[in-house]
Symmetry: C2
């Protein structure tokens, strides 16, 4: 990581997940953390800020830092990069690759990804299976220019781990559009729901830190199995 505040944030995140502060639901004071990690106050506060933004804690002026209530159910977390694998920890997750090949951007794609028609894109269609039952259909496009290589093994495990750890991509920000539709016929069959049943849909546009769009995806979720959680801070 090499950056102090992120390292501290990650360590504290681990401690929180291990239940270290569950008894009191209270974290050490800034002062104590400054001594523990031997950094300046600003650095500690930046680390804390990460935990606040990740939805773990909240701060109360004059009082301290407290754990937020844990969500009991398994939710899809909008703010996390690594998808289902990290969100649904209590479940078994499998992935079936339905398609994986390179194609050229048509006009629709090109407009959405702000690139030339004909730009090479990886096209991937995956069925996600949670606890042995179909959970979602995900269609993704990656710019080949940015993700030069992909295979079934990578697509079956975690694409994002590959992008971050192996390709060292710097992922910057994303737009997620959520809505709800009557499911299309093909998806209904694959997700084992009836035609015209509802479907929860997330369309995702992801950019590198420098602002370039590199991925577009559309996920169709089983309406009875998927719930999205979003933790928001107003400050």
């Amino acid at each position: 990581m090499a950056v102090k505040y992120k390292e501290i944030a990650d360590r504290l995140e681990c401690e929180i997940q291990e239940g270290k502060f569950d008894k009191t639901k209270k974290l050490p004071t800034e002062e104590e953390l400054i001594k523990k990690f031997e950094v300046s106050r600003n650095t500690i506060r930046k680390a804390i800020n990460q935990l606040v933004n990740r939805g773990y804690i909240y701060q109360v002026q004059g009082s301290g830092m407290f754990l937020r209530e844990e969500s009991v159910t398994d939710y899809i977390n909008l703010g996390s990069l690594r998808g289902l694998t990290k969100d649904l920890t209590s479940k078994t997750i499998e992935t079936k690759i339905l398609a994986l090949h390179v194609l050229e951007a048509d006009e629709v794609n090109a407009k959405q990804m702000r690139c030339e028609v004909g730009t090479k894109l990886y096209y991937i269609k995956r069925l996600r299976i949670v606890d042995k039952e179909p959970f979602s259909i995900e269609i993704s496009y990656f710019k080949k220019e940015i993700v030069p290589y992909l295979n079934e093994d990578i697509a079956a495990s975690s694409i994002y781990s590959y992008l971050i750890e192996d390709l060292k991509l710097n992922i910057g920000f994303a737009d997620k559009v959520i809505n709800c539709e009557k499911i299309d016929e093909a998806s209904a069959i694959e997700l084992h729901v009836n035609p015209l049943d509802p479907a929860l849909i997330i369309e995702n546009t992801v950019c590198l830190s420098n602002g370039t769009i590199f991925e577009l995806s559309k996920s169709v979720f089983h309406y009875q199995k998927a719930k999205i959680l979003n933790r928001i801070n107003f400050k």
Copy 2:
């Protein structure tokens, strides 16, 4: 406001919305903003951070600060406090109060709001109408202890403006759970959709800065009219 970085963030937000940087899609450098607002670099960076978190801009090390693409369509913004009125600016929005009274928390309410059974709650049911067509049904509970007074006028305009500007509540954070169901009969009639059509649902638990839950709400949206946008930063 009284706090410099928020004031600067708000001023820059206005300038962005007015289209001041549309030509270049680039903001002034930190250096320039420091001179313009006569504050330290940290303060400017805190202000900028607000704009990043609000989804307006992104920063590129070594290069500058740039506007994010605007979303063309009208979306519900998960991260904003003021609801529809601010999200759907191009539309006319009306609110019909279907119910507004005080009741005592039952066991379900009490558990969700972490309060005693019998705690006094405002119960509000509203139909939101966008461009003359039914858009959503919203059921909210507010702790009377925290929101001692509410009336139809307030509930028909913006409850949150009232809470913030008049009651001076410090709103801290919220959990939003989004899912998709077959609509219930009553809502179907009110939203003018067919029974068993899909419905987009947001359940919302809102806390004050000190961590106390003060509101619980459930909104049922017209599945063809509501789209949610969430802008996420990974840093």
